[in-house]
Assembly symmetry: C2
Homo-oligomer: 277 residues x 2
């Protein structure tokens, strides 16, 4: 098959490399930065640049640019895409993308499926991309119809052929709700954590817990602010939730209330055990 | 030398095993649970049980029980300890312990130094203890006088002989201030994180960020509530600090204020980069 990959950053670059390493498919790629296109051609991660004149040869198109750019790109190119082709995006939010693109795809006779690869690094850009980024990772898919079993099986097979170990199918609504908790909140909390004045002076004092809590504090503010605002309702719910929880510990501390503090800690500890076991 | 280890949990058990593996010292050990004493004798982690009649043979005594129990133990046994002996505790807070014990030590002619090994697991108890727990870790020491260079050099040499890679000397006040940020806050935030209703339903949706943020959510509520309350002022400062930071992101989200959100995220990201580089 011919696979188009639009956007050759960490995610798209790694998709190209994974396809080349794990399959015999041909890869057409494109990045807005011409140097990246040349580089990807040179190192063999793509076979050809995608253009308006060859995009209709693609059986699959994987889009890995920011959410708003994804919508803009596909609306602009929809008339060029082959009927029956499968287009999957890789954005970190799914409602705003799918609401815009399910209809566009339907009107032009191709399939659009929301996608979100559960993998990443705290570095971005083609230079960090690698063929095994998705090895053992999960891919979330949010199709328009979850009852088109034939299509979903074919797409799952393709996804797994790239190295993903599992595919989770859900609705855009459910994706955005859960991802606000597992990923977006983690980035907000980690980013907020390092704002203490103590952050600058802790050399020699930091055990693993500090390192874990702040690993994702270093982030791409342009991408994440777009993702956060496109999932505002869910993320606000989660931020409120943790502020409320933290306020409970605070109150127990202020009151020297050992029993309540112990109960709060035990509750969190029990919840974590219940999730992981 | 003869080294006494009081409290054979994860920390104390690992100290015994590290001493036996890395040095020729004799280890006298004691745990309140008699079964643990028998087990540690049997597996060779200790050579003998500490008792009131032999504690005066110890050149070093390492105490690894909860802070209040540390103070009680040493006050009760102070008259039995050899003059010139060095006693180091391993508690996670230092002011309350040192304030109580510096004078006791001085009055009885032995040295008391506050200690805090920067190592641990999210499991506790002798059965998880291991000889290499401290390999490459840092040990914080809070001595009464930081200008007794001879004593500190001797103690540092002993600590490093157990496998620690570095020793950080500071005041109890500074220790408690920084540890509130690097360790205590991490445990509070992680424990609070899992209280979202989404925590139960995220299977297939969790990338590394969720795992990192919640790794230390599972904790011993008895130990941590004691540590938190003994460091109430510093921990309250840190909890307030992160609640205030989180409220800033919340406000920017509520106002759809992309520029402020971006600025907040960039500030956190820049701080993290500045710390780690």
């Amino acid at each position: 098959m011919i696979i188009g990959v639009v956007g050759l950053g960490l995610i798209g670059g790694s998709l190209c490399k994974a396809i080349k390493r794990n399959t015999d498919h041909t890869v057409f790629g494109f990045d807005i930065d011409k140097n990246i296109n040349s580089y990807a051609l040179m190192d063999g991660s793509i076979d050809k640049e995608i253009s308006d004149s060859n995009i209709n040869e693609c059986d699959y198109i994987l889009i890995s640019v920011y959410p708003k750019a994804t919508v803009d790109f596909l609306k602009e190119k929809s008339h060029l895409i082959r009927k029956g082709a499968v287009v999957i995006d890789c954005g970190g939010v799914k409602r705003s993308i799918c609401e815009n693109l399910f209809n566009v795809a339907e009107n032009h006779g191709f399939h659009f499926i929301g996608g979100h690869p559960m993998a990443g690094l705290h570095h971005s850009g083609y230079k960090y991309s690698k063929a095994d980024l998705y090895k053992g990772a999960s891919m979330i898919l949010t199709p328009q119809n979850t009852d088109d079993i034939g299509l979903l099986e074919e797409v799952s097979g393709f996804i797994k052929s790239l190295g993903f170990s599992s595919v989770t199918v859900t609705t855009p609504q459910n994706h955005d709700k859960i991802i606000a908790f597992t990923s977006q909140l983690a980035h907000v909390v980690s980013n907020a954590y390092v704002k203490s004045p103590q952050a600058k002076v802790h050399k020699g004092f930091s055990a693993g817990s500090y390192k874990d809590l702040t690993r994702v504090a270093k982030l791409n503010e342009n991408m994440w602010s777009e993702l956060f605002l496109l999932n505002k309702d869910n993320l606000l719910f989660e931020v409120d939730c943790i502020i409320n929880s933290l306020s409970e510990y605070k109150e127990a501390l202020q009151n020297d209330d050992a029993e309540t503090l112990k109960a709060l800690l035990k509750d969190g500890s029990d919840r974590k055990k219940a999730i992981d076991n």
